[in-house]
């Protein structure tokens, strides 16, 4: 029943006593969940509304996010895609005014449930941010930080090498592991952030516009990496770049900004969610068609 047994990944450093998706530490009698139409779901969002100061930023999103695929969230600025992705690993907890309604089921467990520890959630659901945010430490320590604080056992050198190799960065930096990560290029820094995330062996990787600060060549490298990583990880990506969504994702969700009745408050809504190919070639909703064909931005 564990997803981990379904992957080819070897886990010599696997130290967690509980299965990957048991967030409370208690024994959870799940049998894997119902089969979603597009395969096994890693996330099921049910009527999710995220609000800041009780004003909804994105409303009533219901969608299933498939296992070991890339799911893209696209839409115009202010449609709440970043807000939505940040509630998948409870990063919104860091903003005191934010609140989440509805249910976010991760392997059938509501991650906003009362007994859930947000720290446990984030151990399994990693995140890569818009701007590369390496720690002001050496390349080695950037990777080793996560495994160290999580108390992962095993040879740290090996863990670091595996993380960097996983992000296709090992060959570029193996001779300067003890130099400061701030000396790397932007694209390398972003891959370092991905490597850092891989080192703690998460189940899901969330990427919030990971290429928006990068040049096209670095962007290409990260896209190749994502396609490589989806064999072992489920990936959710927010992107401004429609071509990127079309290139890498398996499924795409299109969100729009809606004005309230009083036309004062804007909030995001999910318009359409389907296979990426369908969204870009034959969308069901005319608003999606206008957006992906470039009629509206």
């Amino acid at each position: 029943m564990s997803d981990r047994t379904m992957t080819e990944r070897e886990d010599p450093a696997e130290t967690r006593a509980s299965p990957a998706f048991d967030l409370s530490g208690a024994v959870h009698g799940s049998d894997g969940g119902a089969e979603a139409p597009m395969g096994k779901a890693v996330f099921r969002l049910e009527d999710v509304t995220v609000s800041y100061d009780a004003k909804p930023a994105v409303s009533e999103v219901t969608m299933d996010i498939p296992h070991n695929q890339i799911t893209a969230l696209i839409g115009p600025s202010g449609c709440g895609k970043s807000t939505l992705i940040r509630c998948l690993n409870r990063m919104n907890d860091l903003i005191p005014s934010a609140s989440v309604d509805g249910r976010v089921l991760y392997h059938d467990q509501d991650i906003y449930g009362p007994e859930i520890d947000a720290v446990e959630v984030r151990k399994r659901i990693g995140m890569v941010f818009q701007k590369p945010n390496p720690f002001p430490k050496s390349i080695y320590d950037n990777i080793a930080f996560g495994p160290r604080v999580l108390g992962m056992k095993g040879d740290m050198d090996e863990i670091v090498e595996r993380g960097l190799s996983g992000a296709a960065l090992w060959d570029e930096v193996k001779d300067r592991l003890d130099t400061n990560a701030f000396g790397m290029s932007g694209g390398q820094q972003q891959r370092l952030c991905i490597a850092r995330c891989l080192a703690v062996q998460p189940d899901v990787i969330l990427m919030d516009e990971p290429c928006s600060a990068l040049d096209p060549i670095s962007t290409g490298k990260i896209e190749d990496l994502m396609l490589e990583l989806k064999r072992e990880y489920s990936i959710v990506i927010v992107t401004h770049n429609m071509q990127q969504a079309a290139r890498v994702s398996d499924r795409t969700a299109f969100l729009i900004v809606k004005l309230d009745a009083d036309e004062k408050h804007r909030q995001g809504r999910l318009v359409e969610y389907d296979r990426t190919e369908k969204i870009f070639t034959n969308p069901s909703d005319s608003r999606t068609e206008d957006y992906v064909s470039g009629k509206v931005g």
């Binding site: 002001p136 930080f145 604080v149």
Partner: protein
Amino acid sequence: MRGSLTAGRSSRRLEIGFKALLLLALSLALITLTVLIVDIVADGVGGLSLSFLTDVPSQIIPENSGIGPAISGTLWLMLVCAAFIIPVGVATAVYLEEYADRSRWFNRAIEVNIQNLAAVPSIVYGILGLAFLVRGPLSLGNVVLAGGLTLGLLVLPVLIVAGREAVRAVPPSIREGSMALGATKWQTIWKQVLPAALPGIATGVILSLSRAIGETAPLIVVGAVSFATFIPSGFGAEITALPIQIFDWVSQPQPEFKTLAAAGIIVLMLILLSMNAVAVWLRNKFEQKW
């Protein structure tokens, strides 16, 4: 209508006049400082010698007087002061920046009060030290421990303000990156935020201590000894310090003591300037550019 592109004569004159005014203000400050230093060095350089640094003061033979006890007393006071302000100041700064919910009134009240405390005259801290540390609840007596703690209370707000700035300068993206890996808030603060803020905190500590090292009034109130014939050692020793010694010599009528006072001021200024130099060096060398 096409106007002339040349500036009016009066506006150009105003420009030059304003610049001259600024330069005048700057040179006034610099000249005062230079005159002070030259005057002190001229007066005191004759009194400087190695034995001056180690000898005890003498009322009878001023030529044999030294600042041995004063230097040693200052070092002990600074040790107590640092041991007190570093943990308390850094913990307060971290609490206010990372944990305090600013929408609660008591956290705002704490913030306002700390800012006010930084502006309280030092003599008031002396009276506080006398009433609560030397006598009263703690009754430590007029010893180094009480003196150092009094100075610590005095400069604690300075360190808290500097510490908060250092913690705030660590960008939120570092905290997010750490938390996203599954680190707890405490691990994030201890292993990411504090190490990144360390240069700023260290600078704050040095600047706080360099403020404390020149304080005279609170030490007089808590019972510092101006005529120390012993080298103080330990937390229970009597209080003496460089500014106290200088103050004592300045108030003596004989001209020989004026030389001694000037020599003492040179030593105090050298210590102060080198502490500030270390602070500047620390900031330039280790400050993280984000």
